[in-house]
Symmetry: D5
Subunit: 92 residues, 10 copies
């Protein structure tokens, strides 16, 4: 089941650089772990912004929330979730 | 080169049913033609709305505009285009 | 799996009264059918507005879209869908 | 009498972790106390966000305000209240 | 129990003048009836706009909805309801 | 002459508690002084929010601005002023 | 007493040209009458838009509403009123 | 002197096709006339939308308004004007 | 050439009082200097807000930007500029 | 390939002056380097605001993102990107 997610990253300017670097590194590792598990099939950077469009493939809204709220950057994210379905014109 | 597009369909309520059916049919045929050509790799229906999220793969903004403005439903669409790039955390 | 839905009804003022009455009747029958089937556990009228807050209980986003897009009033609705999960403080 | 409430939690990033933990714990206890008292019949987490949709069952707007403004997290909440009534299509 | 209501009147330009005059007359009569019954204690015209701020004094959200949805102009209104309580600084 | 005013209070979270208590006390005293003087005939708390709807009765916009900008909480307020007039349907 | 007013003119496209010409002529005559009476001291066209910024000098909000609601174009206007006072830095 | 202008074209769906074609043709001719006169140095189509970004080079706001309000499509445009100046980092 | 300008002042709450007093004094002196030079013909305080509507009379957008960006409060301002022209109904 | 970009600069008020001066200097140098390379053909300051409209000429969205995200001021920018194409009425 697919969910479209927009994430805008709002890191405070005065965040300790080391804390920031660690956060970003853990975010990348976590994201890649989910991608390899097939949970996060689509991930694009929005050109010109510290934001991304993603598509999550999960079994329930619970799983979606678990995955999103476990993001190391979660406290610094504006998140917008939109449920998706197969489009009637979609060609495989 | 990838572009994220949101399309909201705003068909007038008093549109002749036959005209509408023809429009929707031509839209589907055109969309599937572009999908087969690899120009329209992602297309999802937004659950609960007459709207979709899409990703177009084109060689230029010109091509993007040609493809979008040739949509039979184009005069009835609100379109929002966002340029995408590969995310630094993306796993192939 | 739960989805919160806000529906605002935007019926054209010049809609034929008989057509309108029929639409509203079919909407009621359809809604009550879904409620009895356990798909639409929560439905409230927003005081002072021709709008409602609902909660749908479905097995997938596909099912949610099917149920919503089959609403007789669907062409006249502004729909906003928000996925829900159990709150960590929820008491049964 | 029912009121729909959306609460978005905006905790400052630099809030002392112990203060935060205490706040969140007191919020949970208080919320569960109200739920057991039947005042807070519906409470859902919005998937992907530090926010919830709730329904309060109170005898007056005074009581609603007392309950909401006594929330330990109240100073850090954006709150949106919408009065509800029984929907004419509601099936018991 | 008090509710603050903003009403913006959106009459179609091509509404038959006689229909409009009748609507407005019925609206005035109905409004004055509620005012005399003590249900509509505050009613002001917003200077420069076809809109009003009102305060309704009702026993429940049900009663509020009944009174508002029975307004002859209801189909042509944008309505915004905000529940009120006594202010801690209020002097009688 | 009447003006409708919405005030949203935005106190910084890290404001010294004693400073805050003093501000709020002075605000209450000042508000009650204006109410007794007949300048502030209507004051309601918006249920669930640190905000109020008020109606000021003043002789000029100058007087309105003097009264509002002298509010101890003024630097921490978002203020929205709307001029009112007697509604043609108003019953005394 | 001064009020800043923004007026956006929204004439329906299918308005009979003769009706439109008459409306616009009556609007001009009425506006110039008020200007000569000193009630409408400032009137500017917003470059590139069918809209204006104005300043009205009136004795009360009642007078302001009378003048604005008597504008021939009033039914086709979006109006935004902002009360003004003398600025502390104003030089005569 | 430069002005940035965004124009969104909102043609009614039921506009007579011949009227529309004539409007669009006259708009093109007029636009090219201004471009050749050096008044309209920048003109881009926004990809995917019936809208453009333009830059006008005029001697006064009066001239800007004359040029814009004389656009054949003017009655069907949403126009947003932003005054520009040379950027301190601009390289010739 | 006239430009309408709205300025909202957003001074940080924790700004050193002496720094603030100095800023405000310099702002007043600078503003009065421009007013006497005829560059700033209209300046009103918006009742109830730390904001103003102004009209600047300048020879170019360059001059407008120089005057605005030299405001001592400029770093703390939200500024909205709208170009004006003489209204066709304006009476001298 | 052209992209229209709006950049709003949001520098924190308490940023160390030396850090700020250095940032702004590096931003200027970097911007001029890209302009000389033909990547940043259009750059205007928005009159009255710490913001600019730009046009970038790049070979891909990747290149656009690289150029924008390398801006020294990037962490302090709100960026809005709009893809452009040649307008059908454009005269060379």
């Amino acid at each position: 089941m697919l969910f479209h997610v927009r994430m805008d990253v709002r890191l405070p300017h005065d965040l300790d650089p080391q804390v920031k670097a660690d956060l970003v590194a853990r975010e990348k590792a976590y994201s890649q772990q989910l991608q390899r598990a097939g949970k996060w099939p689509q991930l694009w950077r929005i050109a010109g912004e510290y934001a991304n469009f993603s598509v999550f493939d999960v079994d329930s809204t619970e799983e979606l929330h678990e995955l999103l709220s476990a993001l190391p950057l979660f406290p610094y994210l504006d998140v917008e979730v939109t449920p998706l379905v197969r489009h009637p014109s979609k060609v495989d």
